[in-house]
């Protein structure tokens, strides 16, 4: 059964210069217990997609089309009290900057207690809450949970703060955990530990995960299926191993080639140019401004997703004659 399904989602932001047409028909599905990844450069709409799905959008954003279904319910028209209940019991999000996600003037104990209290509808005694909080911290591989609970965020290192965020996310993420660049602001050895902890926990509990990252290697080691986003569109999707071993869309190929390799094959070419402005995005394929393989038809309509092999599809007209 599908836990989350996004169909033809369109999203715009209103800014001083006009309307930013960011998401242009996003289709994404997440099965129960599945781990998916969304990769792409910065400003490609990765975070906007999940924020729209979880109804966490900024006030200048408007969903102009599409549907989001979560556990069979329509997320976009859900009444507020029902949404709050879902957020308290079913889903959670981990953000990129662990310091910004914690309140600096409350101890970890105060912050965790509030969350546990509301997620259990106030049915637990203080002692039970304390036991639960300790349990979550231990699960996130934090030693000395008593000391952590008594600490303010500034007394903890970046890695520990992110572990606290994971522990807090566990309180309410019984079904879905969205991790938005969870290791990006951390050092590589700490990121490695955090990702391993996270993977162990979600696998044990069978939580579905959406991992957002621009670090391709991190995503490759974590998720079952991957979506590649470019300029507000999904250009390729498929099983992680297939997409990385044999990318089909020119953007995915070029993105993977851009990453310097440990094997030392020299400096890759990169992708010339930059993500187009969302004020006046190209009408056809949005990658057209940077694509070395562009043909006449790319300027017309946005390319549909072509299935290139089972479960693996790519939105590029180059696949048309092979259908």
């Amino acid at each position: 059964m599908k836990l989350l399904e996004i169909e033809d989602l369109k999203l715009e932001y209103k800014v001083y210069e006009g309307q930013l047409k960011v998401l242009q028909g996003i289709n994404l599905a997440l099965e129960k217990g599945e781990k998916i990844g969304i990769v792409g450069e910065s400003a490609c709409g990765k975070t906007s997609t999940v924020k729209a799905a979880l109804r966490l959008l900024a006030s200048n954003a408007t969903v102009t089309g599409g549907r989001v279904t979560y556990q069979g319910n329509d997320m976009l028209s859900m009444p507020h009290d029902k949404l709050v209940k879902l957020r308290r019991t079913s889903m959670a999000m981990i953000f990129q900057d662990p310091s910004a996600a914690l309140n600096p003037v409350f101890t970890i104990r105060q912050q965790m207690f509030d969350m546990i209290k509301y997620s259990t509808e106030g049915n637990l005694s203080t002692k039970e809450i304390e036991a639960k909080a300790t349990g979550y911290l231990l699960e996130a591989a934090l030693p000395e949970p008593q000391r952590i609970l008594g600490s303010y965020p500034f007394q903890l290192s970046g890695g520990m703060k992110q572990r606290v965020n994971i522990a807090m996310a566990l309180i309410s993420s019984n079904d879905l955990l969205v991790a938005d660049e969870p290791g990006t602001s951390l050092d590589v050895t700490i990121e490695d530990q955090i990702m391993k902890t996270l993977k162990r926990i979600v696998d044990e509990k069978g939580i579905s995960v959406i991992l957002i990252s621009h670090a391709l290697g991190t995503v490759k080691n974590f998720v079952d299926r991957v979506y590649v986003m470019y300029a507000g569109t999904i250009v390729e999707e498929g099983p992680t191993s297939r997409v990385f071993a044999s990318p089909k869309h020119p953007y995915t190929k070029m993105l993977i080639d851009s990453v310097p390799k440990l094997t030392g094959e020299g400096i890759p070419e990169g992708i010339l140019g930059q993500v187009p402005s969302y004020l006046n995005p190209p009408i056809g394929c949005r990658f057209i401004t940077r694509c070395p393989f562009k043909i006449k038809v790319c300027e017309g309509d946005m390319p549909p997703l072509y299935t290139v092999e089972e479960g693996h599809s790519s939105a590029c007209y180059l696949h048309e004659d092979k259908q």
Binding site: E41, S157, E191, G217, T263
Partner: protein, 328 residues
């Protein structure tokens, strides 16, 4: 060695804070040879940026000397000669904050020319500089907010080139950029290096990038150099347990890369706080091979294989030949 353009000896830089002394850089010595790209790699707090800043004379060292082209550098840039300042330039991590938002690209590029270049057609030289970094000349009238992140960094590189330097400190020049753009910046930097015979001190936390750009690598951890080796040798035979931990932590894409990662050293523990460094080897609380001596004595950085230095007691027993500090 006479072929060194820059030589750093026993460099220390301590910072005092209300809580105590932070040894940001603690007795580091190395040389950058002419035309070489020396990679300085480490996690946050390892002191790599501090080394770059001390070389630039942004603040003075607590102890130690820096020799540039055979001449001992004065402590801060204010005391240095105009010629020395001209020769050593720097590119910072965040391109957006490196340019004045109220001045056009042309104005940004003209300033170093007016200070350092004599008898130069400034307008023509600005166009030349933009061409060197593959930017069209129309860009000269733009303001920084009209440029993309990669373009901004190219302008910063052009500005650093304006004085015809012979040595550049590149402090994480691509960390704030997407990988697709990183490649472009690195390619421009490497082409300029060949064209003008530049030497770089390339500071980064990205080992994969380092593998592809540098000739030699220094691995820093908590203010000390832990391992120094030519890049190829370094990746073929990483020695220090910290280096192995770092290598095994890198998320990679291909199977070939996966095979290069050392096994068995998985990442544990946290980087110690700079105020309370562990006694002995400051890596010992995280080290899976820790011995008694590591908790008491600070290991010296010694040559354990040809041109390969490492400060770990695991290798000191059977090191080859005579011990030697870097540069001596």
């Amino acid at each position: 060695m006479s072929d060194a353009i820059l030589s750093v000896e026993n460099l220390r830089r301590y910072f005092t804070s209300p809580e105590g002394v932070i040894k940001a850089v603690d007795d580091v010595s190395f040389q950058v040879k002419k035309g070489e790209v020396l990679g300085l790699v480490g996690e946050s707090g390892s002191g790599k940026t501090t080394i770059g800043n001390v070389i630039m004379g942004i603040y003075p060292p607590t102890d130690g000397t820096i020799t540039f082209n055979g001449e001992v550098l004065r402590e801060t840039s204010k005391k240095r000669s105009k010629e020395t300042i001209r020769q050593i330039q720097m590119v910072f991590q965040n391109p957006a904050s490196s340019l004045n938002p109220k001045r056009t690209v042309r104005q940004a590029l003209e300033t170093p020319l007016k200070v350092h270049a004599k008898d130069v057609d400034v307008g023509k030289r600005v166009d030349e500089l933009l061409e060197m970094v593959d930017l069209p000349s129309e860009f000269s009238e733009r303001y920084p907010d009209e440029l993309g992140g990669g373009e901004t960094q190219l302008v910063v590189i052009a500005r650093a080139l304006a004085t015809n330097p012979s040595f550049m400190v590149l402090d994480e020049p691509t960390s704030a950029l997407d990988v697709s753009i990183q490649a472009k910046i690195i390619n421009v930097l490497m082409r300029l290096r060949t064209k003008f015979g530049l030497s770089y001190l390339f500071i980064t936390h990205n080992l994969s990038l380092m593998r592809n750009v540098s000739d030699r690598v220094i691995i820093m951890y908590l203010g000390k150099a832990r391992e120094v080796a030519p890049t190829v040798e370094f990746f073929r035979n990483p020695m220090h347990p910290y280096t192995k931990m770092l290598l095994s932590s890198i998320p990679v894409i291909t199977e070939a890369e996966e095979k290069l990662k050392p096994e068995k050293v998985s990442s544990t523990g946290e980087i110690a706080g700079a105020l309370n460094l562990p006694a002995g080897c400051s890596f010992h609380p995280r080290c899976p091979f820790v011995m008694d001596i590591c908790k008491k004595e600070v290991p010296p950085l010694l040559e354990v294989a040809p041109e390969h230095l490492c400060d770990c007691y695991l290798y000191l027993e059977n090191r080859f030949g005579q011990s030697a500090r870097i540069g001596s």
